[in-house]
């Protein structure tokens, strides 16, 4: 009962098929900004939010999208158990107006086990564009439960939904209509006790189909001509792969061009502020060690993270989100299913791999959309083989410094984008190879099945997406920079300034790692930075720089050219840069990702494989590159 809840919150469960705009409804009701994406299975963990209507406070619980409550997959199990045994008083079932029949199956199943139900027929605008007009009043009369039509992005819709919730929450549960009640009773038994599920479900599906037909008006074409044309192009035999490649290149190119200017500006600003900071501290007669720790340690690492790493991260992320919101990602999974199948895996791994470009930890959580446990593990273990948002600005910096030349300009940016694309393709290729390798060894088995709904293309809310993900990403990176870069900067400064015997701790540590690192084409300082950068990859390159600088006199750092000069002075060659870049691509994932893998797999063994696999690949490749490099020079 609601009274057992201390704050008298009334709990509402949000239920619906995948990709019917549940998260958008959730956001419009709660005013939160849960990220929405146009692909089935976006919501993998239940978000919660609150909203108020008059005196009542509703707590909304978002459940993962599911087609039915017969527990076949993890999501269905979670949703069914929550509805059967959870605290929800009302189920708000979100349906897609354009394919009501299929959505009604889930609705009827929910009606069978939850006494109070409100139906939200969403995406009315999208359906109208395809000339499909559901008869909402007719549906309400047939089912005996409130039906609200919504266009989830509109404010008015939220008010109508709240009004419907207010109406049902304290009213006695409605009696199901006579033509439905025996069927619902049968379904209730089958869902609770698992008896003759299939027969009950088939009968329910047939009834859902009838009701759907009865309440849908209009001679609409559910799969619009525009979508047909787009799909023929985006998944066509000749065009699919070139387009994927071009889109990747375009996204990277925009990122590179867009990041150049803010990077330079931020670097100048930070160096000016740093000097000011130093002057102020000297004026306050702070001890030299404190000035060193704060300005040369903390400030320098922090400013490098923000100036070099932040701009590409903050630009790539919204671009990626736009692609995600348009509905292109499921097409990538469709195009890549055959190659993944050849590696005994599932095409949905392409979706989680794409999520990995944003953040490997998010990609690992996203693997829940893969039903087969073996294929899910394959996707989890190989996720960090693609560079995440925290790694590719470093790749970019290395490419522009050593492989292209930091001159800038259109041609240089295009060349950088091409090289970065090659690196990413190397990561993708390695994902396939590692997947095949794992499925022949630790995770042996044959590919299971692939069923993926391809949603209609939607025009993303461009301005909103850019603004939100720009802000969110910036805040996230700044937060992480403060949490990780500050202690790391302190640590490395202390190591550089505490002397034991002949040299500083830093020199000892670097010298200890140096023989092994040299084999890999790196040096001791680079490897040490990778080790210290375990909490966040974006601090690795700033730490290398910091380590080099801590030995010598303070150097003004502005552009990449100055950074390059420091690296060259410390013995970097193009081979060092290439090896560092390859090691960036393939090394142990960050600690957040590792903890997520532990949480998702429940096994330290798999977590160890997840760390060892990319490291082994990276070391092997670096070893080969370094050996060839020595031969060539």
């Amino acid at each position: 009962m609601g009274l057992t809840n201390e704050r008298h919150e009334r709990v509402i469960a949000l239920v619906g098929n995948p990709n019917v705009g549940k998260s958008t409804v959730f956001n419009s009701l709660t005013g939160l900004h849960q990220h929405t994406g146009n692909w089935p299975g976006k919501t993998v963990s239940g978000a919660e939010g609150r909203c108020r209507s008059g005196e009542t406070v509703y707590r909304l619980v978002d459940t993962p999208g599911t087609y039915s409550l017969l527990a076949r997959s993890a999501e269905e199990e979670v949703t069914r158990e929550y509805l059967l045994h959870g605290e929800a008083e009302v189920a708000l079932v979100v349906c897609d107006a354009a394919c009501l029949s299929r959505n009604l199956l889930l609705l009827l199943q929910v009606m069978a086990i939850v006494p109070r139900v409100v139906v939200c027929v969403n995406l009315l605008d999208e359906a109208a564009r395809r000339s499909i007009y559901p008869d909402l009043a007719g549906l309400e009369a047939l089912l005996g439960v409130p039906v609200v039509g919504t266009v989830a992005r509109k404010k008015k819709s939220a008010a109508a939904l709240l009004a419907a919730l207010d109406r049902v929450i304290d009213a006695p549960p409605p009696v199901p209509p006579a033509f439905l009640s025996p069927l619902l009773e049968r379904c209730r038994l089958s869902l609770r006790e698992g008896k003759e599920q299939e027969a009950a479900s088939a009968a329910l599906a047939a009834r859902a189909e009838e009701i759907g037909h009865a309440v849908t008006r209009g001679e609409g074409e559910p799969y619009s001509r525009r979508d047909r044309r787009l799909d023929r192009f985006l998944t066509g035999r000749r065009s699919a792969y070139p387009i994927m490649l071009l889109l990747l290149l375009l996204v990277l190119f925009i990122t590179i061009v867009g990041a150049n200017y803010p990077s330079a500006l931020l670097a100048d600003g930070f160096s000016w502020l740093g000097n000011l900071f130093r002057t102020c501290l000297s004026a306050l007669e702070a001890p030299p060690w404190l000035i060193g720790l704060l300005v040369d340690g903390v400030w320098r690492v922090l400013s490098q993270v923000v100036a070099v790493m932040l701009p590409p991260m903050a630009i790539f992320f919204p671009l990626f989100t736009l692609l995600e919101d348009s509905g292109y990602l499921p097409r990538i999974a469709y195009n890549l299913d055959r190659p993944f199948c050849a590696c005994h895996a599932c095409g949905k791994q392409a979706l989680t791999m794409c999520m990995g470009f944003g953040c490997n930890a998010a990609g690992v959580v996203g693997c829940r959309i893969i039903d087969s446990p073996r294929e899910r593990l394959l996707a989890v273990l190989t996720n960090s083989l693609v560079p995440c948002n925290g790694r590719f600005p470093a790749l970019l910096a290395l490419i522009s410094m050593f492989l292209v030349g930091a001159a800038g300009g259109f041609a240089a940016s295009l060349l950088s984008a091409c090289l970065l694309t090659l690196f990413i393709l190397l990561g993708v290729g390695m994902t396939f190879l590692a997947t095949r390798l794992l499925s022949a060894t630790v995770l042996r088995g044959l590919p299971s099945s692939f069923v993926l709904e391809m949603p209609p293309f939607r025009r993303p809310q461009i301005g909103r997406v850019i603004l939100r993900s720009l802000l969110d990403r910036t805040m996230y990176v700044l937060g992480r920079a403060a949490a990780v870069a500050v202690p790391a900067g302190c640590l490395i400064w202390l190591m550089a300034n505490v002397t034991v015997g002949e040299g500083s701790l830093l020199q000892h540590a670097a010298a200890f790692l140096d023989p092994f690192a040299t084999l890999l084409g790196l040096d001791g300082m680079i490897l040490l930075a990778f080790l210290l950068g375990l909490p966040a990859n974006e601090i690795v390159l700033p730490l290398v720089l910091m380590g080099y600088l801590s030995a010598g006199a303070p150097v003004e750092l502005g552009s990449l050219a100055e950074m390059r000069a420091v690296f060259v002075a410390n013995g970097w060659t193009p081979v060092t840069a290439l090896c560092t870049a390859v090691f960036f691509l393939f090394h142990w994932p960050c600690s957040t990702t590792l903890l997520t893998v532990k949480k998702e797999t429940g096994s330290w063994g798999y977590t160890a494989i997840c760390a060892a696999l990319p490291t082994a690949i990276g070391m092997l490749l670096c070893l080969l590159i370094a050996a060839f490099g020595r031969l060539a020079y």
Partner: protein
């Protein structure tokens, strides 16, 4: 006139009605997604390697591998004047 064929043998652009959905590990999932007997279905495309294929059923486009829709039979709709 009508012709019974396997779903996986349909070519893009062809429409049909599902006639049988044999028991399999995937049957329930397919039923949930609208692959009901007597439901209309259209093959709307092939992926670049020819497998999986995309089908329009119950108002949504669903991609399925050949091996997964192996046993599904459909009745092709051929107009009398064809």
């Amino acid at each position: 006139m009508c012709q019974q064929v396997r779903l996986c043998d349909m070519q893009p652009g062809e429409r049909a009605v599902i006639t049988s959905l044999p028991p399999s590990a995937l049957r329930q999932r397919l039923l949930d997604m609208g692959f009901l007997e007597n439901a209309e279905i259209e093959c709307v495309g092939k992926s670049p390697f020819g497998d999986p294929n995309a089908y329009l059923v119950c108002g949504a486009v669903v991609a399925l591998r050949r091996q997964d829709c192996h046993g599904i039979l459909v009745r092709k709709q051929v107009a009398a004047w064809d």
